[in-house]
Amino acid sequence: MPPSSDGAVERVVVLPKPLHARPAGQLARLAGRHKETTIQLVAGAKKANARGVLAVMAMGAVTGTEVTLTVTGPDAEAVADEVADILTAAEAVDG
């Protein structure tokens, strides 16, 4: 892991809808755009790096699940905002 000058940014969101394929894909693409930044998701005993679309889907996070996201690296604040937006905007999609 490269050393990071930014501290880890942590957010907790409650899912308004299940974390299905489409938001998982959005997260993976976001992670792909920020290659130096690590986005870790934790829901109960399950955790996943947002880069891994299959791992995120395998979390099986359903409506009402509390997801803790930890973002480290460049632009951690902005990336964490985007992650939270994707997770909470999941209500608008049925994927």
Binding site: R22, G25, A28, R29, G32, G52, A58, G60
Partner: protein, 133 residues
């Protein structure tokens, strides 16, 4: 296909046209903009694979950054290999050993985020170790 310009293209080779098309539709939706081209069924639309359909799909999927071919079963591999042998030296297309659906999802998401052919192929191969739940 301008939305996928410059990205690695994906070709899904299946014995069933419906399976290839359905998988491509699903994967495209998840990946948001990757070029995913189905090559399913025989020339007359039956169950089986078609070298002509595979070759046309590779052509459609190529936007300058290479093409990854994901086969479903047995003879899909043989047909894809026959096409690659025919095109020897004229294509950057690469065949990968990966689960059909999970591999396609992982590859298309990687491709959609601008990964190169090596990384897209690696994403598809890693899908073999991903658990479903």
């Amino acid at each position: 296909m301008t939305e996928g310009l410059g990205l690695v293209g994906i070709v899904l080779v299946s014995h069933s046209a419906a399976l290839a098309e359905g998988a491509a539709e699903l994967v495209q939706q998840i990946s948001g903009g990757a070029t995913v081209v189905p090559a399913g069924g025989t020339d007359d639309g039956g169950l089986g694979t078609s070298t002509a359909r595979i070759e046309a799909a590779i052509d459609d999927a190529e936007t300058g950054s290479g093409v990854l071919i994901i086969p479903d079963l047995g003879s899909a591999v043989l047909s894809a290999r026959a096409v690659l042998a025919d095109l020897a030296g004229e294509t950057t297309a690469r065949l990968v050993d990966a689960p059909f659906v999970e591999g396609a999802v992982a590859a298309a998401v990687a491709a959609g985020s601008g990964a190169d052919l090596d990384a897209v192929a690696a994403a598809a191969e890693e899908a073999r170790d991903a658990t479903k739940f």
